[in-house]
Symmetry: C2
Subunit: 197 residues, 2 copies
Amino acid sequence: MSRWKPDARGRLIKAAIELFAERGYDATTVTEIAERAGLTKRTFFRYFSDKREVLFYGSEELERIWLEALTATPTDASPLAAVMAGFDPIAELFEGRLPFARLRAEIIMANPELQERELIKLQRLAESIKAALVERGIAHDAAMLAAQTGLTVFHVAFARWVAQEDPTAFRRLIDESLDELSEVITAEPAATRRSSG
Amino acid sequence: MSRWKPDARGRLIKAAIELFAERGYDATTVTEIAERAGLTKRTFFRYFSDKREVLFYGSEELERIWLEALTATPTDASPLAAVMAGFDPIAELFEGRLPFARLRAEIIMANPELQERELIKLQRLAESIKAALVERGIAHDAAMLAAQTGLTVFHVAFARWVAQEDPTAFRRLIDESLDELSEVITAEPAATRRSSG
DNA sequence: CACAGCATGTCACCTGGTGCCATCAACTAC
DNA sequence: GTAGTTGATGGCACCAGGTGACATGCTGTG
């Protein structure tokens, strides 16, 4: 028994996405996912640290790509420019994966637990980016704010991308979000806030 | 049996914080928390929707206060100014609770699951703030970015507050973070980003 | 006293998640 | 070819988080 089968991880991901789409995340048990993939629950948990993680496989690659682009920018570039350098390769990574991304986004949007996981993934990414900026000599807090700002732009653009009716280029959506950030921020000089007391 | 006891929720929170501080979050079972509070596991889950939530009771009040301050600002105020209006009452809410906040922060920092929950709470808060801004006629995306930016400043200031050796006023830390955000952003005109390809 | 309502307890049950060991295929060495 | 090794998987017992259904007991109120 237990003949070896290729791409166990990929089959588990496929089975999970299908079942989540069919009956929802909560109504799907790990045992069912494993069965559809021709495996057992125990094996599922050897590939994914928990049930949610099956929807987030690949986020390490995203981080790797983003950090590579960041560290490749000249060291005299501004923090925000360095953060935004990751946008292009990421956009390339996503082009063509819209159907999968949309299905996945629908599943996640329907479940608070999954939204938690998505958020923490983005946050971890922001922390990695921040660390990379600090490595380049940027001050701790400036790095954090730049990283967070870049992530927000990315997040807004991504949400628009999966919600879009026509498959607009991801990169174009990023530029739109970026322009709006500029408008929001530059319209708000620090002096507009009330004096502390 | 089962004589009624006052403030069951408060006793559960106290017992949970104590046990988490003593042996860590993972090494503490819900049954143990309930026992220390003189109750049962079933009752714990009547007061808190899950084990983590016992550390986040009170976040609804934070949201309520913030939104009140926001809606109280004149409608011609800028989005970011409206968001930042919440800083003062929130600072008031926190002053004097530093020991509790610090203990809680240590517990959360030691556990990824709890960090997920904290993040999603902040995100929900950002969404509420965004919704309130939209209600005032701010455009959807500008509202989101303003809310997110305000939350980031709040988050940075809060992290500093609990990490501080001497109990600096929370409000002062907010102003510091705000100044740094201004520096980071205003040093980065949109023109510095690469032209889209 | 009878009754309603509320907080709590009790119990059975499901599922996510893990530790431990058995099994089986493929590969290597002799 | 046989023995041993390695790596992926299955099987199983077990723990803890979480829930539904029902019982119990206190408190107030007519």
